[in-house]
Protein backbone atom coordinates (compact mmCIF):
# COMPACT_ATOMS: atom_id res chain seq x y z
CA UNK A 1 0.00 0.00 0.00
CA UNK A 2 2.87 2.37 0.68
CA UNK A 3 4.21 2.36 -2.81
CA UNK A 4 1.05 3.43 -4.69
CA UNK A 5 1.16 7.26 -4.11
CA UNK A 6 4.67 7.45 -5.58
CA UNK A 7 3.53 6.06 -8.96
CA UNK A 8 0.67 8.53 -9.25
CA UNK A 9 2.91 11.57 -8.78
CA UNK A 10 5.30 10.37 -11.45
CA UNK A 11 2.49 9.97 -13.95
CA UNK A 12 1.21 13.54 -13.52
CA UNK A 13 4.62 15.08 -14.10
CA UNK A 14 4.98 13.29 -17.39
CA UNK A 15 1.54 14.39 -18.53
CA UNK A 16 2.39 18.05 -17.90
CA UNK A 17 5.42 17.75 -20.07
CA UNK A 18 3.55 15.98 -22.87
CA UNK A 19 0.81 18.59 -23.06
CA UNK A 20 3.26 21.40 -23.82
CA UNK A 21 5.01 19.45 -26.54
CA UNK A 22 1.76 18.40 -28.19
CA UNK A 23 0.67 22.02 -28.74
CA UNK A 24 3.86 22.88 -30.59
CA UNK A 25 3.55 19.83 -32.79
CA UNK A 26 0.00 20.74 -33.77
CA UNK A 27 1.21 24.08 -35.18
CA UNK A 28 4.18 22.70 -37.07
CA UNK A 29 2.17 20.06 -38.89
CA UNK A 30 -0.03 22.74 -40.42
CA UNK A 31 2.96 24.28 -42.21
CA UNK A 32 2.92 21.22 -44.45
CA UNK A 33 0.01 22.94 -46.20
CA UNK A 34 2.25 25.91 -47.11
CA UNK A 35 3.59 27.24 -50.39
CA UNK A 36 6.17 25.32 -52.37
CA UNK A 37 8.24 26.36 -55.38
CA UNK A 38 8.21 23.45 -57.79
CA UNK A 39 10.81 24.62 -60.32
CA UNK A 40 14.10 26.48 -60.44
CA UNK A 41 13.27 29.87 -62.00
CA UNK A 42 15.73 30.90 -64.70
CA UNK A 43 17.17 34.36 -64.74
CA UNK A 44 15.69 37.02 -66.99
CA UNK A 45 18.34 37.60 -69.65
CA UNK A 46 17.55 40.22 -72.29
CA UNK A 47 20.38 38.93 -74.49
CA UNK A 48 18.35 35.79 -75.09
CA UNK A 49 15.91 37.94 -77.07
CA UNK A 50 18.52 40.20 -78.63
CA UNK A 51 22.00 38.78 -78.92
CA UNK A 52 23.61 42.14 -79.68
CA UNK A 53 22.33 44.94 -77.48
CA UNK A 54 24.10 48.01 -78.76
CA UNK A 55 24.92 51.11 -76.79
CA UNK A 56 23.54 54.29 -78.33
CA UNK A 57 21.00 52.34 -80.38
CA UNK A 58 18.06 53.79 -78.38
CA UNK A 59 16.45 50.42 -78.78
CA UNK A 60 13.86 49.15 -76.30
CA UNK A 61 14.03 45.40 -75.77
CA UNK A 62 10.78 43.90 -74.56
CA UNK A 63 10.32 40.36 -73.33
CA UNK A 64 6.56 39.93 -73.27
CA UNK A 65 4.38 37.29 -71.66
CA UNK A 66 4.30 35.10 -74.75
CA UNK A 67 8.07 35.10 -75.32
CA UNK A 68 9.88 31.92 -74.49
CA UNK A 69 12.46 33.85 -72.43
CA UNK A 70 10.02 34.83 -69.70
CA UNK A 71 11.03 33.74 -66.19
CA UNK A 72 8.55 31.17 -64.94
CA UNK A 73 7.87 30.40 -61.29
CA UNK A 74 5.76 27.33 -60.66
CA UNK A 75 4.32 27.08 -57.18
CA UNK A 76 1.93 24.89 -55.27
CA UNK A 77 -0.34 26.22 -52.55
CA UNK A 78 -3.41 25.29 -50.61
CA UNK A 79 -6.60 25.48 -52.66
CA UNK A 80 -9.33 27.60 -51.14
CA UNK A 81 -6.99 30.29 -49.88
CA UNK A 82 -5.82 33.57 -51.40
CA UNK A 83 -2.21 34.41 -51.98
CA UNK A 84 -0.39 37.67 -52.44
CA UNK A 85 2.44 37.96 -54.93
CA UNK A 86 4.79 40.88 -54.49
CA UNK A 87 7.40 41.62 -57.14
CA UNK A 88 10.10 44.03 -56.05
CA UNK A 89 12.32 45.23 -58.87
CA UNK A 90 14.57 48.27 -59.27
CA UNK A 91 13.75 50.76 -62.03
CA UNK A 92 17.09 50.24 -63.76
CA UNK A 93 19.86 47.77 -64.50
CA UNK A 94 23.28 48.91 -63.32
CA UNK A 95 26.67 48.22 -64.83
CA UNK A 96 28.45 45.50 -62.86
CA UNK A 97 31.29 47.07 -60.93
CA UNK A 98 30.21 50.56 -62.02
CA UNK A 99 29.48 53.66 -59.98
CA UNK A 100 25.78 53.84 -60.97
CA UNK A 101 26.30 57.09 -62.84
CA UNK A 102 23.86 58.04 -65.61
CA UNK A 103 25.90 56.32 -68.33
CA UNK A 104 25.99 53.12 -66.25
CA UNK A 105 22.23 52.61 -65.91
CA UNK A 106 19.52 51.36 -68.23
CA UNK A 107 15.81 51.77 -67.53
CA UNK A 108 14.05 48.58 -66.48
CA UNK A 109 10.31 48.01 -66.38
CA UNK A 110 9.34 44.69 -64.83
CA UNK A 111 5.87 43.24 -65.31
CA UNK A 112 4.31 40.02 -64.11
CA UNK A 113 1.33 37.78 -64.74
CA UNK A 114 -0.25 34.82 -62.98
CA UNK A 115 -2.32 31.83 -63.87
CA UNK A 116 -4.56 30.23 -61.25
CA UNK A 117 -6.69 28.13 -63.59
CA UNK A 118 -5.27 24.90 -62.27
CA UNK A 119 -3.22 24.23 -65.40
CA UNK A 120 -0.60 21.56 -65.22
CA UNK A 121 1.44 22.69 -68.22
CA UNK A 122 3.24 25.97 -68.71
CA UNK A 123 1.78 26.39 -72.20
CA UNK A 124 -1.80 26.13 -70.94
CA UNK A 125 -1.01 28.40 -68.03
CA UNK A 126 0.32 31.13 -70.33
CA UNK A 127 -2.88 31.09 -72.37
CA UNK A 128 -4.96 31.74 -69.28
CA UNK A 129 -2.48 34.08 -67.59
CA UNK A 130 -3.64 37.43 -66.28
CA UNK A 131 -1.22 40.33 -66.69
CA UNK A 132 -0.93 42.77 -63.82
CA UNK A 133 -1.18 46.35 -65.12
CA UNK A 134 2.00 48.41 -65.31
CA UNK A 135 2.86 50.21 -62.11
CA UNK A 136 1.51 47.52 -59.77
CA UNK A 137 3.91 45.42 -57.77
CA UNK A 138 1.34 43.41 -55.76
CA UNK A 139 -1.47 41.08 -56.69
CA UNK A 140 -3.79 39.09 -54.45
CA UNK A 141 -5.83 36.31 -55.97
CA UNK A 142 -7.31 32.93 -55.08
CA UNK A 143 -5.02 29.92 -55.36
CA UNK A 144 -7.73 28.24 -57.38
CA UNK A 145 -9.75 30.44 -59.67
CA UNK A 146 -13.36 30.57 -58.51
CA UNK A 147 -16.14 30.07 -60.99
CA UNK A 148 -18.65 32.89 -61.26
CA UNK A 149 -21.39 30.59 -59.97
CA UNK A 150 -19.47 30.15 -56.75
CA UNK A 151 -19.97 32.46 -53.85
CA UNK A 152 -17.68 35.43 -54.20
CA UNK A 153 -15.95 37.21 -51.39
CA UNK A 154 -13.09 36.46 -49.13
CA UNK A 155 -11.77 32.98 -49.16
CA UNK A 156 -11.30 30.76 -46.19
CA UNK A 157 -8.18 31.94 -44.49
CA UNK A 158 -8.14 29.40 -41.69
CA UNK A 159 -7.97 25.70 -41.81
CA UNK A 160 -8.70 23.12 -39.23
CA UNK A 161 -6.73 20.23 -37.92
CA UNK A 162 -7.91 16.94 -39.24
CA UNK A 163 -9.25 18.34 -42.53
CA UNK A 164 -7.88 17.08 -45.87
CA UNK A 165 -6.09 19.91 -47.70
CA UNK A 166 -6.02 20.08 -51.50
CA UNK A 167 -3.21 21.92 -53.23
CA UNK A 168 -3.29 23.69 -56.57
CA UNK A 169 -0.60 24.78 -58.98
CA UNK A 170 -0.05 28.47 -59.73
CA UNK A 171 2.17 29.90 -62.43
CA UNK A 172 3.83 33.29 -62.16
CA UNK A 173 5.47 34.85 -65.22
CA UNK A 174 8.02 37.65 -64.88
CA UNK A 175 9.01 39.70 -67.92
CA UNK A 176 9.50 43.32 -68.95
CA UNK A 177 11.27 45.98 -70.98
CA UNK A 178 14.81 47.28 -71.02
CA UNK A 179 15.73 50.59 -72.53
CA UNK A 180 15.96 52.78 -74.43
CA UNK A 181 19.64 51.88 -74.61
CA UNK A 182 21.29 55.30 -74.66
CA UNK A 183 24.89 56.39 -74.51
CA UNK A 184 25.90 53.89 -71.86
CA UNK A 185 29.18 52.16 -71.27
CA UNK A 186 29.61 48.66 -72.59
CA UNK A 187 29.52 45.77 -70.14
CA UNK A 188 27.19 43.56 -68.15
CA UNK A 189 24.18 45.27 -66.58
CA UNK A 190 22.39 43.47 -63.76
CA UNK A 191 19.72 43.75 -61.08
CA UNK A 192 18.00 41.46 -58.62
CA UNK A 193 14.24 40.98 -58.47
CA UNK A 194 12.60 39.57 -55.39
CA UNK A 195 9.31 37.72 -55.70
CA UNK A 196 7.56 37.17 -52.37
CA UNK A 197 4.56 34.86 -52.24
CA UNK A 198 2.49 34.41 -49.12
CA UNK A 199 -1.04 33.63 -48.04
CA UNK A 200 -3.22 36.70 -47.99
CA UNK A 201 -4.55 37.76 -44.65
CA UNK A 202 -8.04 39.24 -44.62
CA UNK A 203 -8.10 39.85 -40.93
Amino acid sequence: MKSKPIHIILFLMLMASFTTTAQRIGFEVRTGDGINILNSPEHLNFNRLNNLIMANSFEVITISLNDEFVTVIEIEAQAGRDITVEVNAPSYLALSGGKQSDNERINLDIRFAYSNSGNHSETEARLSAIEIPAGFSHATFPVKKRLSSQVTGLSQSRHYSGSTVNTERIWIFVFGSLGPIGKVRMGEYTAEISVIINYASHE
Binding site: H7, F11, N47, I53, I73, M186, G187, V195
Partner: protein, 173 residues
Protein backbone atom coordinates in the same frame (compact mmCIF):
# COMPACT_ATOMS: atom_id res chain seq x y z
CA UNK B 1 1.03 -1.41 -11.35
CA UNK B 2 1.86 -3.04 -14.70
CA UNK B 3 -0.94 -1.21 -16.44
CA UNK B 4 0.36 2.22 -15.43
CA UNK B 5 3.81 1.60 -16.82
CA UNK B 6 2.39 0.53 -20.16
CA UNK B 7 0.44 3.76 -20.59
CA UNK B 8 3.49 5.94 -20.09
CA UNK B 9 5.52 4.08 -22.70
CA UNK B 10 2.78 4.45 -25.27
CA UNK B 11 2.68 8.25 -24.84
CA UNK B 12 6.43 8.56 -25.27
CA UNK B 13 6.25 6.66 -28.54
CA UNK B 14 3.49 8.93 -29.88
CA UNK B 15 5.40 12.12 -29.01
CA UNK B 16 8.57 10.88 -30.70
CA UNK B 17 6.66 10.06 -33.86
CA UNK B 18 4.91 13.43 -34.07
CA UNK B 19 8.13 15.36 -33.50
CA UNK B 20 9.75 13.59 -36.43
CA UNK B 21 6.80 14.50 -38.68
CA UNK B 22 6.99 18.17 -37.79
CA UNK B 23 10.68 18.43 -38.68
CA UNK B 24 10.10 16.97 -42.15
CA UNK B 25 7.16 19.26 -42.90
CA UNK B 26 8.88 22.49 -41.94
CA UNK B 27 11.82 21.65 -44.20
CA UNK B 28 9.61 21.41 -47.32
CA UNK B 29 7.42 24.50 -47.33
CA UNK B 30 6.27 27.54 -45.46
CA UNK B 31 3.52 30.14 -45.47
CA UNK B 32 5.80 32.63 -47.21
CA UNK B 33 8.39 32.02 -49.88
CA UNK B 34 10.75 34.30 -51.69
CA UNK B 35 12.37 33.73 -55.06
CA UNK B 36 15.30 35.85 -56.18
CA UNK B 37 15.59 36.39 -59.92
CA UNK B 38 18.65 37.87 -61.58
CA UNK B 39 18.03 40.23 -64.50
CA UNK B 40 20.86 40.89 -66.91
CA UNK B 41 21.86 42.35 -70.25
CA UNK B 42 25.26 42.50 -71.90
CA UNK B 43 25.60 45.80 -73.73
CA UNK B 44 28.02 46.07 -76.61
CA UNK B 45 29.89 49.15 -77.69
CA UNK B 46 28.53 50.95 -80.69
CA UNK B 47 30.41 50.56 -83.96
CA UNK B 48 32.18 53.73 -85.03
CA UNK B 49 33.80 54.66 -88.29
CA UNK B 50 36.41 57.38 -88.09
CA UNK B 51 37.86 59.15 -91.11
CA UNK B 52 41.62 59.27 -90.56
CA UNK B 53 42.58 60.76 -93.90
CA UNK B 54 40.67 62.13 -96.90
CA UNK B 55 41.05 60.82 -100.41
CA UNK B 56 43.19 63.30 -102.32
CA UNK B 57 43.42 63.41 -106.09
CA UNK B 58 46.60 64.59 -107.77
CA UNK B 59 46.62 67.51 -110.19
CA UNK B 60 44.85 66.74 -113.44
CA UNK B 61 46.15 67.76 -116.82
CA UNK B 62 44.15 68.42 -119.97
CA UNK B 63 45.50 65.35 -121.72
CA UNK B 64 44.39 63.02 -118.91
CA UNK B 65 41.30 60.93 -119.63
CA UNK B 66 41.36 59.22 -116.26
CA UNK B 67 43.26 59.13 -113.03
CA UNK B 68 43.63 56.32 -110.58
CA UNK B 69 44.43 56.36 -106.87
CA UNK B 70 45.28 52.90 -105.63
CA UNK B 71 43.81 52.03 -102.23
CA UNK B 72 46.72 49.70 -101.52
CA UNK B 73 49.72 51.53 -102.93
CA UNK B 74 48.89 55.26 -103.04
CA UNK B 75 49.66 57.74 -100.29
CA UNK B 76 46.66 59.73 -101.55
CA UNK B 77 44.21 56.99 -100.63
CA UNK B 78 41.68 57.89 -97.98
CA UNK B 79 41.83 56.04 -94.71
CA UNK B 80 39.10 54.99 -92.28
CA UNK B 81 39.23 53.20 -88.98
CA UNK B 82 36.45 51.05 -87.54
CA UNK B 83 36.13 50.84 -83.75
CA UNK B 84 33.83 48.32 -82.16
CA UNK B 85 33.60 45.04 -80.30
CA UNK B 86 36.84 43.03 -80.19
CA UNK B 87 36.77 40.02 -82.53
CA UNK B 88 33.22 40.78 -83.68
CA UNK B 89 32.20 40.03 -87.24
CA UNK B 90 30.66 42.79 -89.28
CA UNK B 91 29.37 43.40 -92.77
CA UNK B 92 30.02 46.37 -95.04
CA UNK B 93 28.36 47.82 -98.12
CA UNK B 94 29.42 50.78 -100.20
CA UNK B 95 28.39 52.39 -103.46
CA UNK B 96 31.33 51.81 -105.76
CA UNK B 97 30.22 53.85 -108.79
CA UNK B 98 28.89 57.40 -108.61
CA UNK B 99 28.30 60.21 -111.05
CA UNK B 100 29.43 63.63 -109.87
CA UNK B 101 28.06 66.79 -111.44
CA UNK B 102 30.26 69.90 -111.44
CA UNK B 103 29.30 72.75 -109.18
CA UNK B 104 28.35 74.95 -112.16
CA UNK B 105 26.34 72.07 -113.72
CA UNK B 106 28.42 72.16 -116.90
CA UNK B 107 29.97 68.75 -116.74
CA UNK B 108 30.08 65.48 -114.95
CA UNK B 109 32.50 62.73 -114.11
CA UNK B 110 32.19 59.11 -113.15
CA UNK B 111 33.99 57.97 -110.03
CA UNK B 112 34.66 54.34 -109.30
CA UNK B 113 35.75 53.67 -105.73
CA UNK B 114 38.05 50.86 -104.65
CA UNK B 115 38.27 49.83 -101.03
CA UNK B 116 40.94 47.72 -99.41
CA UNK B 117 41.00 46.59 -95.80
CA UNK B 118 43.13 44.95 -93.17
CA UNK B 119 42.84 44.21 -89.46
CA UNK B 120 46.01 46.20 -88.68
CA UNK B 121 47.16 49.62 -89.78
CA UNK B 122 49.18 48.30 -92.68
CA UNK B 123 47.98 49.64 -96.03
CA UNK B 124 50.36 47.56 -98.14
CA UNK B 125 49.09 44.36 -96.56
CA UNK B 126 45.45 45.25 -97.23
CA UNK B 127 43.29 43.48 -99.77
CA UNK B 128 40.47 44.66 -102.04
CA UNK B 129 37.02 44.36 -100.46
CA UNK B 130 33.81 43.74 -102.39
CA UNK B 131 31.22 46.51 -102.46
CA UNK B 132 28.28 44.33 -101.46
CA UNK B 133 27.93 42.40 -98.19
CA UNK B 134 31.63 41.91 -97.54
CA UNK B 135 32.09 40.06 -94.23
CA UNK B 136 34.99 41.06 -92.03
CA UNK B 137 36.27 40.64 -88.46
CA UNK B 138 37.48 43.28 -86.03
CA UNK B 139 40.85 42.60 -84.43
CA UNK B 140 41.40 41.88 -80.74
CA UNK B 141 41.35 45.61 -80.03
CA UNK B 142 38.04 46.04 -81.83
CA UNK B 143 39.65 47.76 -84.83
CA UNK B 144 39.69 47.39 -88.58
CA UNK B 145 41.19 49.68 -91.22
CA UNK B 146 40.02 50.70 -94.68
CA UNK B 147 41.82 52.53 -97.45
CA UNK B 148 39.80 54.17 -100.19
CA UNK B 149 41.06 54.69 -103.71
CA UNK B 150 39.25 55.74 -106.87
CA UNK B 151 39.38 55.86 -110.63
CA UNK B 152 37.92 58.94 -112.33
CA UNK B 153 36.91 59.08 -115.95
CA UNK B 154 37.34 62.59 -117.44
CA UNK B 155 36.60 61.69 -121.03
CA UNK B 156 33.07 63.15 -120.85
CA UNK B 157 33.89 66.49 -119.28
CA UNK B 158 35.77 69.70 -120.09
CA UNK B 159 36.54 71.57 -116.90
CA UNK B 160 34.83 72.05 -113.58
CA UNK B 161 35.02 71.63 -109.88
CA UNK B 162 33.64 68.46 -108.38
CA UNK B 163 32.92 67.63 -104.79
CA UNK B 164 32.26 64.04 -103.92
CA UNK B 165 31.49 62.02 -100.88
CA UNK B 166 32.14 58.40 -100.14
CA UNK B 167 29.89 56.53 -97.75
CA UNK B 168 30.21 53.07 -96.34
CA UNK B 169 27.67 51.15 -94.23
CA UNK B 170 28.67 48.82 -91.43
CA UNK B 171 26.63 46.46 -89.30
CA UNK B 172 27.39 43.70 -86.87
CA UNK B 173 26.51 40.23 -88.01
Amino acid sequence: MRKTVFNILLLIFMIANLTLTSINASGQSSDMIEAGIKVSAEVMADIDLLTMRNLIFPDIYEDDDEIFVSPILSENAGMMKVKGIPNARFRINYLNKVKLVSENDEGFIFVEYFVSGFSDENQYASGIIDAVDAELTLNENGEFFFWIGAKIDFSQTITGQFLGQFTIELEYM
